[in-house]
């Protein structure tokens, strides 16, 4: 069956009762549920589609006699909103109630444009040509401070006289000068844990070998001799970079404990418990004749089995 059109004549079984003035859509099924009939000026009536027997191009045939339709209550416009005033998506998609198409003429210049696809692609190409040359400068602009050379200068951190007991972690604070981009040099406070180690502990840390520190090119910067009885550990936890502390543990005795994710290390830096993937990072250390300790400040990537230097 066709869809009823606006202005179509409406016929009952006995006579014509006017024309279709409006159609009512069901918001759920998106189908026409009712037509509104003019009743030749004697008050509109709303007729359910069930009453419609047949729809032709210009007429709607109802099943009922005109008296039945006239007996229906008057159509109440205020119970409805137009489809322009309500948000029901795709409501009108399959409804064709307009009597014919509504058209707008093409502008003269549009009438014989060939190569529309060419113009479309050309537009995209020019867009790319604008975007591409600035993509790399933007990337370089943002990457400028990301990679810097390592700073291998020796930093004074304090005197060994601060350490009273062997194999006990003692925190030394020191200042490191930092220069970021355009800014004047400024100092940040860092910390390092230093132990006065017994030979047993030294054996644990060095396992009989001197520890070498190399730069990016593989050239040796410094060697920690295995018989120097002092060990320095970077203050950065190798798990995820928090600052750890020297603490009394209920069962493990005195240990390095990181309060973030609870990694626990013994005095030699070995992981005793918790999620850390490697031992604490020993740093290059030298002790002068009068007990002044110097270190090279290094930071290694956390969360890796191997040491990857980043600072």
């Amino acid at each position: 069956m066709l869809q009823p059109k606006l202005k179509s004549k409406v016929r009952c079984t006995d006579l014509d009762i006017g024309e279709v003035t409006r159609v009512v859509l069901d918001p759920l099924s998106h189908e026409i549920s009712h037509i509104v009939v003019s009743m030749n000026g004697s008050g509109e009536r709303q007729v359910a589609m069930g009453q419609v027997q047949d729809v032709t191009d210009d007429a709607v045939q109802l099943r009922a006699p005109s008296a039945d339709i006239r007996a229906l209550p008057l159509f109440k416009r205020e119970d409805y909103v137009t489809t322009r005033e309500v948000e029901i998506s795709h409501l009108e998609d399959n409804i064709h109630v307009t009597p014919g198409e509504v058209l707008v003429p093409l502008p003269d210049l549009e009438k014989d444009v060939k190569r529309r696809t060419f113009f479309m692609n050309f537009t995209h190409a020019i867009g790319f040509l604008i975007g591409l040359p600035i993509a790399y400068p933007i990337l370089r602009f943002l990457m400028q401070p990301m990679y810097t050379n390592f700073d291998n200068q020796w930093l004074k951190v304090g005197n060994v006289s601060k350490i009273k007991q062997e194999d006990v972690g003692v925190q030394f604070k020191y200042k490191k000068s930092v220069r970021e981009v355009y800014m004047p040099e400024y100092e940040v406070e860092k910390n390092v844990w230093i132990l006065w180690a017994t030979p047993e502990l030294l054996e644990k840390v060095y396992q009989g070998k001197d520890a070498e520190f190399r730069d990016a090119k593989g050239k040796t910067i410094w060697t920690n001799k295995k018989d120097i009885p002092y060990v320095a550990f970077s203050g950065k936890c190798p798990h995820l970079g928090c600052g750890f502390k020297w603490r009394q543990h209920k069962t493990l005795g005195q240990v390095f404990l990181c309060p973030c994710h609870l990694s626990i290390y013994d005095a030699g830096g070995k992981v005793l418990d918790g999620p850390a993937p490697r031992s604490l990072d020993a740093l290059p250390l030298k002790v002068s004749a009068d007990g002044e300790i110097e270190i090279i400040d290094m930071e290694f990537k956390a969360g890796m089995k191997s040491q990857i230097r980043i600072v």
């Binding site: 409006r22 309500v86 930092v178 918790g274």
Partner: protein, 375 residues
């Protein structure tokens, strides 16, 4: 069709006021009345509900975050030597500075809470299913943006909490295979956190994320309007149709009451628990025990597990697990094609949701209990 039917048929003796003339002027040019009608007359299948307030409430919280955030920028200076002091100045010297900062702070928590409620609801109601897949995907992107907002926001005061939470957060991102190192350096603006980090987080927090959120929230609303609300999962078409009403007035009324409750809640928290800064950030934590914001606590506790120990465990916990979780959420509407929306007939979904919530609650509690053992 004739839409002017009900328009007040010009009553002869009626002199229109200036306001009416202005409205008529604008309406003629912009079609305001039609837009307004279209905005307000959106059918809500099954009728308005208190359960539907979260989307509007989230929009409200975001607007308030934008307002308070903009105000904070009048005094805040994003440099390592001034960020802390300017934040302290806002708290202690600027009239109502403590209040606006605390509102902004608690507003972010409220946002996370409402977001989880909103997402849970969509999940439990099965509202992510066809034809609302795109709506769900854009929602997930918005979720990512809100989390990044939180993450970039709390570096800005440059106190110890800020510094350490950021440091650990960036180390976690660093564990991403191949691009992790680049991402971490990119965010930090170097190998270790400093001024470049603060600048980058500041730009992200006040420029990039707000514009991204506005654009995506607009898209989210558009997609919502195109797909129409999902409505209840119970009831026949006729029952749902019988209870249907428009967005205005009942749902808007519920939304505004919801907003008022959230507003009062945030204000109350700001009054009772105003923001207090810890010491200024330094690369030495001293006696401070680093801890993230409460809504990240469960994850923080999760990473303490032996299961996630070692390099592989860490990759598994810090990267693979959250990425897998997000991929699962993204793929959800594409593999869960069963049109059944009733959560009581979707046992796997129900169990998965309960399990996720139980893990979050238990691990948050565990993290809180763990605090005592550290002191």
């Amino acid at each position: 069709m004739d839409s002017k039917h009900v328009s007040s048929a010009t009553i002869p003796d009626h002199q229109s006021s200036t306001a009416e003339k202005v409205i008529a002027f604008l309406d003629e040019r912009l079609g305001l009345k039609e837009i307004q009608a279209k905005m307000l007359n959106e059918p809500i299948p099954g009728g308005s509900r208190w359960a539907y307030v979260f989307g509007s409430v989230l929009l409200f919280i975001f607007i308030m975050q934008a307002v308070t955030g903009t105000l904070l920028m009048f005094y805040y200076v994003p440099t390592t030597d001034h960020a802390y002091d300017s934040t302290q100045y806002i708290i202690h010297n600027v009239d109502y500075g403590w209040f606006l900062l605390s509102y902004h702070f608690w507003g972010s928590s409220a946002m996370v809470v409402c977001l989880v409620a909103h997402m849970s609801q969509v999940f439990l109601w099965g509202a992510y299913k066809k034809p609302r897949e795109l709506l769900w995907l854009v929602g997930l992107a918005l979720f990512g943006i809100v989390i990044t907002f939180g993450f970039t926001g709390y570096l800005l005061p440059w106190d110890q909490r800020a510094f350490w939470a950021t440091l650990v957060g960036v180390e976690i991102l660093d564990k991403t295979p191949i691009i992790g190192d680049f991402i971490a350096r990119f965010l930090k603006g170097g190998a270790s956190p400093g001024q470049m980090t603060l600048s980058r987080f500041f730009v992200l927090h006040v420029m990039i994320l707000p514009s991204a959120l506005m654009a995506l929230a607009g898209l989210h609303l558009f997609l919502f309007r195109v797909a129409a609300p999902a409505g209840p999962f119970k009831g026949t078409k006729e029952e749902i149709k019988a209870k249907t009403d428009y967005f205005f007035p009942r749902q808007i009324w519920k939304d505004i009451v919801g907003m008022a409750f959230v507003f009062i809640g945030i204000c109350a928290l700001a009054l009772w628990e105003p923001v207090v800064l810890l010491d200024k950030a330094t690369p030495d934590p001293g006696e401070y025990h680093p801890e993230p914001e409460w809504y990240f606590l469960f994850y923080f506790q999760l990473l303490r597990l032996k299961l996630f120990a070692g390099q592989f465990g860490q990759f598994f916990g810090a990267v693979a697990l959250p990425v897998a979780f997000m991929i699962l959420l993204i793929a959800l509407p594409f593999f869960d094609k069963d049109p059944e929306r009733n959560i009581f007939k979707r046992p796997i979904a129900l169990i998965a949701w309960i399990a996720t919530m139980v893990v979050i609650v238990l691990f948050t509690i565990a993290a809180i209990i763990n605090r005592e053992f550290l002191d």
